[in-house]
Amino acid sequence: MCRIGSIKSKVPVHPSKALHLMLPQQEGHDNSGFAMVMQDLYGIFSTYKDKPLLSMACTQKGNQMVEEYMDSHNFVQLAEWIPVPNKEPGLDIQAMPYYVFRNYDFPEHYNELSQKEKEDVLLNTRLALRKLLEDAGEGYVYSFWPDVLTLKEIGDPRDIATYFHLWEDNGCLSAKNIVVQCRQNTNYDIVRYAAHPFFLQGYTLCANGENTFYTKNKEFQKSLHRGYIGFESDSQCFLYTLHYVLHELKWPINYYKHVITPLPFEEIEKREDKDVLTAIRQSLAHLEINGPNTIIATLPDHRMITCCDSKKLRPVVIGQDENTVAIASEVCGLNEIMPDRDMTKDIYPNEREVIVIDNELEVQRWKQ
């Protein structure tokens, strides 16, 4: 089983804090990879918060292909950060030649586009780049979105952090929201796309668990949206459902839990809103998640959520101090990064709860 974690803070946080959150939990994960998505960026990216940021790992040729594509589609490069790696011998990392984090400006004629149209352009561009690099076998594109940075690699997370100098806080890389996970795909092939967190149009999600309805989720999601692709991991289904419910159907966040772990019919019958809940359950039966799970997600407005499967077969705990809320599979992670917090206020959500943390770090805890 994976271990997952996230940090939401009033002040920007360096990735090393996320690593400190995860490493004490390493008996549960296997140190086979590192993946994180940072949202609401500070440091070198703070100037370009409204400009889409491309996160990719590629070969030199792959980089050229992307540059040509972006040029031909009139995206204007604004800034670029290519980490200079620490290539000391003995590091456990299957590194790609280049890691590119690059801000672009929209083509001029896109300025008249609506927000939704712009979102579609960004998604279409990422999908096109992914296909380009995938077909050529020259790299991986993880995200292309304003104020979002994704880093994924195969290897020991400590060594990966050393490779990218993530242990040293030099002020260039920080964010108010970080979602992190320290394991490569375990059930299926080891491919970089399979490592969560996954990202789609402002939604980030990682999951600890098993989605036993993977096949039926996947078969259904494939026809719902062009962005629902890959399926290298059964956890991607959680993200796509989150995106579908909130972004496509535009339902309030309260209904996400009703889609993935619907109430039993007996309980629905007792509810005032039973007609709505029944309709959701029957129309989205193929998005139900069955199996042990915990989810941590970040929404486009940077609210962070977590919830569990309907039998509470996977753990999660939320801890808080003055400036930070952190979520982790195991409490030892929280003890490492916020040892002085009031532990009596830690939250261990139950199987029917959803926890939502807003940008003021107010923690909402409500029942499905």
Partner: protein
């Protein structure tokens, strides 16, 4: 010898031979009295025997005339192998034995095509038995506990809209329904299939109905029962129990005169309406109720004289599937105020996917279920040539239809129910579970139910006499003397016990794959030991 011609029928030409032990027979006559087919008779036989009655052996040769039980050599009054004689014999003196040298099928066409009941005797292959539930939760995720976890075993019956079509609107931060949506009932995924009053005896039908009501009221399992084509008793239609019944309308529209008249007096809605287009056992044929079974009460319910009731092969006036949707679905929906789901049942066919596509794409969104009935389904009466040589297996058909919906992103919108041979080897739960993993929302069973009531018919030619009106078990007959053989309460109890075991077994299959709700479409949970089947169904081949 001159008195015997080679064309004469002998017992050895028949499918079953009676093995009779005169030495054990007490001449009680029970066997002859109980044989509804008149396949055995009492006859006097000249016997040459040696007896010794003294205390010392003193053999004495005698010629005696003794009564014996003898099998009738006839192509009309022949032994069906039902075993009633054996059942009633106190001394184990008589029983039927299958005759491998039978010439009966060849010889008994003097009066036209052979008619019989039961199911196919030629195509009883068991695809489902080479499929195994092979994706077991081991370490990656925990299996559930069949005895302690809760399971949500319910299936939709009704037209399900896509999420984007749901008429939600926001009110005080919550979603509410702005308008009505098509009715959907969530029912137990095991439907008691359509067997009419007429095909079944009143007692048999009542036993099935009683079991259905008991399962709902006492066991909390919302099992639904289809009336079959032939109507229902008015008192039942005007009772609260109507909610457990799916009214069937077939091409003969039998019983609908009374149903329509009862509508204003109904205190609750029926669970659904099922339009029967075809039947797996005899696709292309309408219902058939031989005159022998059209008893007075059947005449009354159906409003017909005593005559053979042949339903036409098609619903008259329906010439295309578009018409079917517009005319039948709309009018039946309208009849119950659009509160009752209307589903359709077809024989499995090479065209099933086309039918399903048409229904999925119908603009009225009005079809509430697609029932596919495979070749292994049963019937009360059909031509043997239809039973054995027409039809289509249901397993791959359910899969094909499900995948056709998947391709269009429409899976789940019109629930799929599969039937025809479910439970043929005794375990309906395993069959149902595999069908659901392949894409069915549920299954329907008929034959299993009457087998639980006592039917001994099988697909190896045993009995299969439902068409004769002489059912020895009192199930498929209207002869009051035969019907009395059936104990309604005991019969209902057998069905209830079976369904409770079905429910427990379903959980025993859901638990190891880690699912607490029905795994519709979880083909990844199945593996097959047959490569061809695995390839066809898109599941893993294992060996």
């Amino acid at each position: 010898m001159e008195a015997v011609k080679t064309q004469d029928i002998s017992v050895n030409d028949l499918a079953w031979k009676i093995e009779y032990h005169a030495d054990r027979c007490t001449m009680c006559g029970s066997c002859v009295a109980s044989c509804s087919f008149k396949a055995i008779k009492v006859e006097t036989q000249a016997q040459s025997i040696v007896v010794s009655t003294d205390s010392q052996p003193k053999p004495e040769h005698r010629h005696v005339a003794r009564p014996i039980i003898k099998q009738v050599a006839s192509l009309t009054d022949f032994c069906r192998g039902c075993g009633m004689c054996e059942k009633v014999c106190p001394n184990n003196a008589i029983h039927p034995v299958r005759n491998p040298d039978s010439r009966k099928t060849l010889l008994s066409k003097d009066a036209g095509p052979i008619k019989r009941g039961g199911r196919t005797n030629l195509n009883a292959q068991r695809t489902l038995d080479s499929i195994i539930v092979g994706r077991i939760s081991q370490m990656t995720d925990p299996s559930l506990d069949a005895a302690r976890h809760t399971f949500d075993i319910r299936s939709p019956f009704g037209r399900v809209l896509s999420a984007k079509e749901l008429p939600f609107q926001m009110k005080d931060g919550k979603m509410v329904m702005a308008t009505k949506t098509p009715p959907v009932n969530w029912i137990y995924p095991l439907i008691f299939s359509d067997m009419s009053i007429g095909a079944l005896s009143t007692r048999a039908w009542e036993a099935v109905a009683l079991a259905c009501a008991y399962l709902n009221e006492k066991c909390g399992l919302p099992v639904r029962m289809s009336s079959g084509e032939g109507g229902m008793p008015v008192k039942l239609m005007e009772s609260d129990y109507l909610k457990y019944f799916i009214l069937q309308i077939a091409s003969g529209h039998f019983g609908w005169n009374r149903i329509v008249k009862a509508i204003p007096h109904m205190v609750t809605d029926p669970a659904g309406v099922l339009i029967k287009i075809g039947q797996g056992a005899k696709p292309g044929d309408g219902g058939l109720l031989p005159a022998a079974k059209v008893a007075e009460h059947v005449q009354a319910i159906r409003g017909v004289p005593k005559a053979t009731l042949s339903s036409p092969p098609n619903h008259q006036g329906l010439y295309s599937i578009e018409e079917s949707v517009q005319k039948m679905h709309l009018s039946l929906n309208a009849a119950f105020g659009f509160r009752v789901p209307v589903a359709i049942k077809c024989a499995a066919s090479a065209t099933s996917v086309s039918v399903y596509n048409n229904l999925l794409r119908d603009p009225y969104k009005i079809c509430g279920g697609f029932f596919i009935d495979g070749i292994q389904g049963g019937t009360g009466a059909a031509n043997e040539v239809s039973l054995d040589h027409t039809g289509h297996p249901v397993v791959s058909k359910i899969r094909d239809c499900y995948l056709a919906a998947v391709k269009q992103g429409l899976q789940g919108q019109i629930p799929l129910y599969g039937g025809g041979g479910i439970g043929m080897t005794g375990n309906a739960a395993a069959d149902a579970f595999k069908m659901m993993c392949l894409g069915a929302n549920g299954v329907f069973v008929g034959k299993v139910l009457i087998q639980l009531l006592g039917c001994v018919g099988n697909e190896q030619g045993r009995c299969n006499s439902c068409n004769t009106g002489k059912c020895p078990m009192g199930i498929c007959t209207q002869d009051p003397r035969l019907v009395k053989r059936l104990d309604i309460d005991k019969g209902a109890q057998k069905i209830v016990d079976y369904v409770l075991a079905f429910d427990a077994e379903l959980k025993k299959l859901m638990a190891p794959i880690g699912n607490s709700s029905i795994p519709v479409g979880r083909s990844d949970a199945l593996v097959s030991t047959d490569k061809a089947i695995a390839d066809k169904l898109g599941i893993q081949y294992v060996c």
